[in-house]
Symmetry: C2
Subunit: 416 residues, 2 copies
């Protein structure tokens, strides 16, 4: 047991877990159309230039730019219309001095031409002659061969998460299959003698399991692959067996419940018995979410999340979600940017709230608009109430340095 | 043809399309675990109270609050320990005046008790007697029967998009199957004689289709069900047949490409021939994205998106994404909030940019951090370059009222 006895900040807790995690995840080949949201397991290089030739970006006439120098509406440059570029075809011929070819957006520039004059700046004198009323510079209204992507360039780097535009980029270089990382598999165990599954009818004293379902959704929303291992009572042997099974079938395990002291001790013992280094910390300085256990077992993170549904979700967002999204590793600048953009909204708090200095507080808030401004109304209620999370639109953060926020102050908000 | 000849603002264009759309989408029953991100097709009512009994939120002793009034560390209230609440069981007995029962977090309050004293504020004198060192009020450290959700209450309303916490809420009321709306099916057609699919080798003059793949990803990212109808050349009859097929199999159709004047005219004609009211507008006042066609055909939206990849994506984000996410209808306050939170980040622009008044400009930007501040660096480059969208982290918006933004000014940014 490498446990630290002081409650860690979220950042310290993240670092404590990260140093025991492996750097790289296994990959699998997928058709391009199934790759959205997945992380590239290897760099993708462009095998060829995109586009493969100089293309027009407008409808107009392909010309030699110098033939248009000095052209004005009063004194147009007159050019012979010597041909027309057909879409998807290589032009048969060359633009000679004094000539112009008709060309549409996306058409291939004929040899000799180095710019395109927009239709708007030409006048047709007869079917063989145009007047150009404004000069163009070389390269104007043209996408040059290889300007979008040059052959051999890294089109997308390993670790990049595929967005819609990346699918377009991959298509443009002729990649119809990509190697992506396997999603992080997350085993989920609920603990507590009082829990029954949603299909069962609770008798007095029993309640239905909430956290398994909240965490299942949260893992899936981060691109992970959740798997439920059901409910385990306060039974050390059964918890140990279930945890070992979940660890053998997943990359990460989440335990929840066990907010009573006895149950938490059983969970910590079961985690420690499963492998090295075991429990790393027991308690983080956030509210809600303080009684969180963080551990790594043989390279796999294990978290003991609080039993209260709102607390479990807050800790998931802060500690678990970044690991599920990144597979466990992320670079410096990217991580910094993520931290800065994690609570992107700014809203006016509608009532004053207290907070203890040295602790990060997360307040469930409901947003509303008035006169084009965004207001955050705290959703009051115990962290054991799932309805507070359902009524809320997001979380507002009170940084550890502050002892409270006054009504009317601006707070940082994250939607969920 | 109900076409308007003036370029509309994005808001006007949205309204023009929305008035022809049906209000409701068909539903389907799904297991709870598969419901993430789907929209509820009907209200879900709680069939019973959650919790079904008064529960403790802490580890401690269940008491009658009045027995603790006036208790201090110097003068504790002494109570007889008369029993222990077992987790998941109904307590066998009653808390009489002067008595306390041991209880753990989540335990059921025995009859007679109306509050719980935290373990921290008690001292054990012998195994039958405790001293309470701080008074509790009735209801303190207790979640009352029905406090989370009351029987008969609407737990989640129709139209609500299911988040992880909503799955937890549904589980808590015993709902293991939900009726959700079918996702919006979106047919995607690329037009242009110069396009080939990513598996083909382009000859000079040809390029691979980018927009089909970008749009496929973008529709999927919004929770829609995309379907590709391939590439159609500048052929009115073939486009008309493909459009009619796509309309018959989907709830919405996106055409892209055809940014050359002739192709756009062919697209507009094919859309108009497919049904009523047909093309509604031809051009919106945004950059990039001006040459956008908006139409509704027999209750189904059809958009002719620009051919340039960056332009097509910007218009998708502004016009199409809200329709795919909402299925076509959204309420006032919610829509307002969405608009205010659509460009949630604030970043410092690193270089001055021009803009025409009366037009909304969207600038691709790359974000970076310095000294804890977020900076937006414009990604310059033609809107025909997919690489500009790949290099960018998001879009910055320049509102229609402004004629430009100076370096150092704050801009609103949306990640993509």
């Amino acid at each position: 047991m490498a446990e630290l006895f002081k409650a860690l900040t979220v950042e310290e807790a993240r670092v404590a877990v990260a140093r025991y995690l492996p750097g790289k995840r296994p990959g699998v080949r997928l058709p391009l159309l199934e790759s959205l949201g997945r992380r590239l397991a290897a760099d993708v290089r462009a095998p060829e230039d995109v586009p493969g030739f100089d293309r027009s970006t407008v409808d107009g006439y392909a010309v030699r730019a110098r033939d248009t120098y000095g052209a004005t509406e009063g004194l147009p440059s007159y050019l012979d219309v010597a041909g027309e570029v057909l879409m998807g075809r290589e032009p048969e011929g060359t633009v000679s001095p004094g000539q112009a070819w008709r060309i549409a957006t996306g058409g291939m520039l004929p040899p000799g031409a180095d710019a395109v004059v927009m239709l708007e700046y030409t006048e047709e004198l007869d079917c063989r002659t145009i007047g150009v009323t404004r000069p163009v510079a070389p390269g104007e209204n043209v996408i040059r061969k290889g300007e979008d992507i040059a052959a051999g360039e890294i089109a997308l780097p390993a670790g990049h998460r595929i967005r819609p535009q990346d699918m377009g980029m991959l298509s443009s270089v002729g990649v119809s299959e990509v190697e992506v990382e396997l999603p992080v598999r997350v085993g989920i165990i609920s603990t507590g003698d009082e829990l029954v599954s949603p299909g069962e009818r609770p008798v007095p004293g029993q309640v239905r399991d909430i956290n398994s379902y909240t965490l299942y959704g949260a893992v899936a929303a981060c691109g992970g692959e959740p798997r439920l291992y059901g409910i385990v009572g306060d039974d050390y042997e059964k918890l140990k067996r279930t945890l070992e099974l979940a660890l053998s079938e997943n990359d990460m395990v989440l335990l929840s419940g066990g907010s009573s002291v006895g149950t938490r001790d059983v969970a910590a013992l079961a985690i420690d018995s499963a492998g090295e280094p075991g429990v790393l910390f027991h308690g983080i300085s956030v509210k809600p979410g303080k009684p969180t256990i963080g551990a790594v077992v043989n390279g796999k993170p294990v978290f003991g999340l609080p039993g209260h549904p709102a607390s479990a979700m807050v800790v998931f967002e802060l500690m678990v979600a970044p690991l599920v999204r990144s597979g466990g590793y992320a670079a410096g600048e990217k991580e910094m940017r993520e931290a800065l953009t994690a609570f992107p909204l700014r809203a006016v708090l509608t009532r004053s709230l207290h907070s203890a200095a040295g602790r990060e507080d997360f307040i469930r808030v409901r947003l509303h608009c008035k006169d084009g401004r965004l207001f955050a109304e705290p959703v009051l209620g115990k962290s054991g109430l799932i309805s507070t999370m359902v009524k809320a639109d997001g979380l507002a953060r009170i940084p550890p340095g502050k002892e409270g926020v006054e009504a009317g102050e601006i707070v940082e908000v994250k939607l969920f």
